[in-house]
Amino acid sequence: MSVLTYRKAISQALQEALRQDDRVFLMGEDIGAYGGAYAVTRGFLKEFGEKRIKDTPIAESVIVGAGIGAAMGGVRPVVEIMTINFSLLAMDQIVNNAAKLFYMSGGQVRVPLVIRTVSGGGSQLAASHSQSLEGWFAHVPGLKVVAPATPYDALGLFRTAMQEESPTIYVENSLLYGSKGEVPEEHYVVPFGSAAVKREGKDVTIISYSRMLILSLKAADTLAQEGVEAEVVDLRSLRPLDTDTILRSVEKTSRAVMVEEGWKTGGFGAEIVSLIQEKAFDYLDAPVQRVAGADVPMPYSRPLELAVMPSERDIIAAVKNIL
C-alpha cells in the first residue's frame, strides 16, 4: 500500500498506460508544455515526447472527433477535455459518433476511446464553468461513464477504461485532486458496472458518486454519532449501472437518499430514484430522497455558491426527513 493523491493516482494510471502500450497517446489542450490545467500531466511531455503528448488547439469538436477516428484506426487515444463544460462543444462527436459508430456499422467499427474530463463546481468559477453534466452521457447508449471518488478507484477504473473497446467518459473532480487514499502496489482493477458499499449501515442507504460520495461519507459519520447507521453506496460507474448493489442495500435499509451535485430537475439521480421505486417498491418505508444542486445557474459569489451546492448538512437533513 502507498498513499497517493487522487491527482497522482490518475497521473500514475496515465503513465502506466503510456508505458505499457505504445499505441497509447494523450491529446488535449495544455496537457504538454503547460502540464495540464490541473497538473495531472505535468512532466509528461518531457518523458514521453510530442508524439505521445499532443497539445491541441482549443477546438473541442475536432479533439474528440480526431480521438474517435484515431481509435477507429487502431491506436489508443486518451483525450482530455479540460472540463466537462467544454464537452458541450464536442457533444455531436461524442453522442452521434463515439456512441453510435459501433451500432451504425453493424458491429464493424470499434471506438476504444477514453475521454478524461473534470466535472463539478465549488471553486467559484461561476455558471459556465461549474456544471456536472456526466448524467447526460450516462443517458446515451453506446457510452460508458465512470466517476471515481477515491485514488484507489481512480487508478482501478482507469485501468479498466484502457482495456475497454467501447468509448468511455472518465469523469474527474477538481476538488478531489488533493485528496489522499491508499492504493495497493500490486496490480488491481476496478471493473465497470460495479458499485461499492463504502460504509455499511442498516438504517438508510445513501447513494452517490465522485465528490458527493466523500460528503456522503462525512454525513454518515456525523449521523453515526447520533446513532443512525447509514450505508453509503458509491456508484463509481454511472453506465453501466450496478443496480444489484443499490437494490441489495435498499432492501436491507428500506430507505434511500440519492446525492448528486448537478441540478436536481432531470438529473441522473432521478434515474436512481426511479429504479429503486420500480424494483424495490415493496421494501421502501419512505420516499427516496434526492439531494442535489439547486436548479439555478451556478453563481460566482462564495456564499451563494455554497448555498447552491449540496452540503453535508443537506444530506443529513434528507436522511432525517425519512427516518
Partner: protein, 326 residues
Amino acid sequence: MKLAEKLDLSKEELINFLRQMLLIRRFEEKAAEMYMRGKIGGFLHLYIGEEAVAVGAISCLKPEDYIVTHYREHGHALVRGIEAKRIMAELFGKATGTSKGKGGSMHLFDASKGFMGGYAIVGGMMPVGVGLALASQFKEEGRVTMCFFGDGAVNQGEFHESLNLAALWKLPIVFLCENNGYGMGTHVDKTFSGSDISKLAERYDMPCCQKIDGMDVLVVRDEVMKWVERARNGGGPSFVEVMTYRFRGHSMADPLEYRNKQEEEKWKKRDPIPLFKKRLLAEAVVSEEEMALLQKEVDREVEEAVEFAEKSPFPSLESVYEDVYV
C-alpha cells in the same frame, strides 16, 4: 486519348471507370424505384450526376487507405468495391446489409475495405477523418484518408477545426469538397461568403487546387492523384474542390422548387456518363457493342442486388440489442 495516356491508365481501367459510373447510375435509379415502392425507408439521397467524382477520386486510393464520407454515399461505397447487393440489402433494412440493417442508406460501412462510413451529420465525418489520418501517421502506415463532404459542410465549425488540425500536424488526408452548388435547397452563394471555397484552405498553409471539373472522370483522377501521392509521401493534407451537380433532388422528398430548369439542363448536357462514353468511343477504347454489353452486365448486377435484398431476411428482433457495446 491524351489525358488517359498521361495518366497512364490501361484500357481495363478506363472500362472499369465507365462500368462504375454505369453501376452507380443504375443502382440509384433502381433504389429510387424501390423507395417509391416502399421497400426503402428513411432518407434516400441520390448521387446521380456526380458519379465521376467518386470514380475518379477513389481510383487514386490503395486498398489499405481510408474513406469517410457523407450520407450521399452509395457511389463511394460501390466504387470502393462493396457489393451492390449488400448495399441494396442495407437500404432494404435487411440482415445481409452492410450494417446488418442498422445503418441504412446514410450509414454505409465496410471496415474491411477501409470504408469507415457515411455520416449523416453535415461535417461530422471531418474530425473522424482527421483522426484516421492521425492513426496512420502515428503508426507510420502510409495510409491515406480521403474525406468527402459537400459544399454545405464548408460553413460548419468542424470544417475549420479539421483543416487546421490536419495542416498543423501534417496529416495524410485529402479533403474533397463535392460542390454541387446547393446544400439542400440553399445555393452556395447564400451560405458561403468567400468567392472561392478552395481558397479557404490556403490559409492553413494547405495546398489546394483550382475548382476542378467534376463531370470529367479523368480530370478528377488526374488532380486527386497528385494530392493522394503527396499525402502518402508525408507531404501532409490537401484540399480539392470538385464542381459537380446532382441531377435529382436533395432527397426523395425534395420538390426541387429552388432551382431552375435552365441550370439543370446546362449541367445535364455535361452528364459525366455520355461525356466519358463519347470520349471512349472517339478514341476507340470501347465499341458501342461493348458498351451495351457493359450496361447489360450492370443492369443484371443491380437486378440481382434487388433480388438479394428482397429475399434476405429482416434482422432478428434480438439483434436490436447487439452492437451497442463491444
